[in-house]
């Protein structure tokens, strides 16, 4: 009898550990140096639980990876978990019942109370059910400035957008590029959004992006935005890189004065072992309106008809938002954690600035949440055309207005 019991226990243990050792394929598009370092924190934490993280990194930006991810889910070959930007991108996948409902995990973990700002969880919620785990907050409203470049030009490091524009001629005289800009629509769209917030202000931005107010879009505030964009275009005319991290690299090496890019650029500065405030300066909200949007990355879990995998998916979901993993991941990535209750004192100068702004409630919904990918793509196409050619400010504005008019 005793032997029998022992045997039974042994089999129970074996089968229990076999059940929990699941291999999950996770797709994401975090492939730059800083991003890869951050995602390995997730993988380490997951592997430490006895499961296996099968990394499915897709090179290229979200624009390249998203179609691959979505077509795999639609085509019946889903991965176990995938990164997506939360917001309207996954709406139809949820409606079609292709994504796993995580409401029970969220309730068990008390996500409603810990996720800050709450808008992040709202973006994961459809009809009262929660379908994704937010893992970080990304804000795009940052101007990164190279101390080395300003030293070469003999100018003080600017403290806001106006000073940055004014310092451009001196930088050019010193043979430097004032504004590093990757020639891709989404990067130029970020610059557009940031310049809008700095020049036209938050109210005008909200009226157009959230409420689709045509009159404001065609009005004088936005006219000023497009004029400023022409100025920015001139500042970036000698920047002929494509990828955002190449542009960041121009700032790191002091070939360019600054770059408008999201806070993920920070990961690159970290990999290059630069120190915030000493080697580079960051200006949230371009130093004008200290406000950040709360876009970010979230993980979605496609429905897989296997209870073992489903249990593991839920386990992974809970792990991604757990305090230790959040700290480790966000410190490596340079993004802000999604929960307000953890100790981020190890964060550097720039991240502290961001955390302060969040704590003070300087929060905007991100474009991903208010505009459909269709409209976003149209605006990105317009920006790509605007920045590469010599389109006038008036034409640019007129085209922008017609896109907003058609937006759903």
């Amino acid at each position: 009898m005793k032997l029998m019991n022992k045997l039974l226990t042994a089999t129970a243990i074996v089968s229990a550990s076999a059940a929990s050792a699941v291999e999950l394929e996770v797709t994401h598009w975090w492939t730059s140096g800083g991003e890869a370092a951050a995602v390995s924190k997730f993988a380490e934490a997951w592997n430490a639980t006895g499961n296996t993280w099968l990394d499915g990194a897709i090179a290229g930006s979200g624009g390249t990876a998203r179609p691959i991810i979505i077509s795999r889910i639609l085509g019946g070959d889903p991965m176990a978990a995938t990164q997506l930007n939360h917001g309207r991108q996954a709406e139809e996948l949820i409606e079609a019942g292709l994504l796993l409902d995580l409401t029970d995990v969220a309730e068990a973990g008390g996500w409603k109370d810990i996720v800050n700002p709450p808008a992040l969880l709202d973006a994961c919620t459809l009809d009262g059910k929660i379908f994704c785990v937010p893992v970080n907050i990304h804000s795009a409203q940052w101007l990164w400035l190279s101390h080395a470049a300003y030293e070469t030009a003999g100018v003080d490091v600017p403290t806001n957008w106006g000073e940055f524009v004014a310092s451009a001629p001196q930088l050019e005289e010193a043979g430097l590029v004032p504004l590093a800009m990757g020639q891709q629509g989404w990067q130029q769209n970020i610059a557009f959004g940031d310049i809008t917030l700095a020049v036209a202000g938050v109210d005008a931005w909200r009226a157009v992006s959230v409420d689709r107010d045509i009159e404001v879009a065609a009005g004088p505030e936005y006219a000023k935005v497009f004029e400023e964009m022409v100025v920015a275009r001139d500042m970036a005319k000698n920047s002929n890189v494509q990828d955002w991290n190449m542009a960041t690299n121009m700032v790191i090496t002091g070939q360019a004065g600054g770059q408008i890019m999201g806070d993920w650029a920070q990961g690159e500065f970290q990999v290059a072992e630069q120190v915030a405030g000493v080697d580079y300066t960051c200006l949230p909200g371009l130093g004008v309106n200290e406000i950040l949007d709360t876009g970010g990355d979230a993980f979605y879990f496609p429905v897989i008809d296997d209870p073992e995998i489903e249990a593991a998916q839920k386990e992974l979901a809970a792990l991604l938002i757990s305090p230790e993993v959040q700290v480790a991941f966000n410190l490596a990535k340079g993004s802000l954690p999604v929960r307000g209750d953890i100790d981020m004192s190890a964060a550097n100068d720039c991240m502290q600035k961001g955390l302060n702004i969040l704590a003070n409630g300087g929060v905007l919904p991100s474009g991903d949440m208010s505009l459909t990918p269709d409209t976003q793509t149209q605006i990105e196409d317009l920006m790509a055309e605007f920045w590469s050619g010599d389109m006038s400010a008036e034409d640019g504005q007129a085209r922008y207005v017609s896109i907003i008019e058609q937006a759903e």
């Binding site: 979505i70 269709d374 793509t377 590469s388």
Partner: protein, 307 residues
């Protein structure tokens, strides 16, 4: 296909069997291909065309909106740029690939030494995928590391050759890569065609005192008509589906100056999550192929029967 040649020898039967029942085995064997053609090509095409009249976003849905998607398509600057780029690339690629392919083949056919080595060298690029070709040429044409830098280091410091960053000539940067990749194959096909020309034709031309170049232009090229048509079809199908080269080499940039229709279709179907818009664009691509193909097929096959 072999049906007619076998029938010739047989005596005419009292009552001819129905056309449809002749050679049953050959017909049974071709059923899978017929089904594939019907279901995949015709069925898929019809489905795409039908859904291009809806407002499908990420998933197809049957909410018909008439020609809205087409109206939007033709008022989109990026689509217009894509069409112009494809036309430019198409014409240049067709003419240059055929010319270069033929000239290389004709030169090799002049019984040069090390013909095998040259043939291999010229054909090698074709073994590379468009993605590799695109990346390689992106580096070669990069002003800081590639050709421009090399020539400047040789001492010609004002030399500027930077097509990939210049919206006006970026398509030629793509064209160089496309031709480099594709002309080797055309050369091989042409070479096979040239080898198929009877030696006696050359002798006869020489007896008549016709010069070498004139022989090529006036006698050999007209005789190689089928070879040219094969090449033409190969090049044309490569042009219309031009996508991976652009993605690898420029990704449509700078700005939108090297966008192509196939890329528009993919981007709108998946990145912008607007299926119907992508379908409308792919229907327009199909339509343009049909417009070119039908008159040509009519002339090529319809005309010959009567002539």
């Amino acid at each position: 296909m072999t049906a007619t040649s076998e029938q010739i020898g047989t005596p005419i039967a009292a009552k001819r069997p129905s056309r449809w029942l002749r050679n049953p085995m050959a017909k049974i064997a071709s059923i899978p291909m017929i089904l594939t053609a019907l279901v995949v090509f015709v069925g898929g095409t019809t489905w795409t065309v039908v859904y291009s009249f809806t407002d499908s976003k990420l998933l197809p849905r049957e909410n018909f909106v008439g020609f809205d998607q087409y109206e939007r398509l033709w008022s989109t600057a990026r689509w217009m740029v894509s069409i112009k780029n494809l036309a430019l690339y198409g014409v240049c690629s067709l003419v240059l690939t055929l010319t270069i392919g033929f000239i290389l083949a004709a030169l090799l056919d002049r019984k040069v030494r090390f013909e095998g080595a040259f043939r291999t060298i010229f054909l090698y690029p074709f073994a590379l995928s468009f993605v590799v070709t695109g990346l390689a040429w992106q580096w070669i044409l990069n002003p800081d590391f590639g050709l421009q830098n090399l020539v400047r280091e040789w001492g010609w410091t004002s030399f500027t050759f930077d097509p990939l960053n210049n919206p006006d000539i970026v398509m030629f940067g793509l064209l160089i890569a496309g031709i480099w990749q594709g002309s080797g194959l055309i050369m091989c096909i042409m070479l096979a065609g040239l080898r198929g020309i009877d030696e006696d034709i050359w002798k006869a031309a020489r007896v008549d005192g016709i010069g070498t170049i004139k022989t090529y232009v006036v006698i050999i090229i007209p005789m190689m008509r089928p070879v040219f048509i094969t090449s033409l079809v190969l090049i044309a199908s490569g042009i219309i589906k031009l996508y991976d080269l652009v993605v690898a080499q420029t990704n449509g940039g700078p700005g939108i100056s090297s966008e192509v229709p196939a890329k528009y279709v993919i981007n709108y179907m998946f990145q912008a999550q607007n299926l119907a818009q992508g379908f409308a664009a792919s229907t327009m691509m199909l339509l343009s192929v049909v417009i070119i193909l039908i008159p040509w097929a009519y002339l090529e096959f319809g005309g010959r029967k009567r002539g």
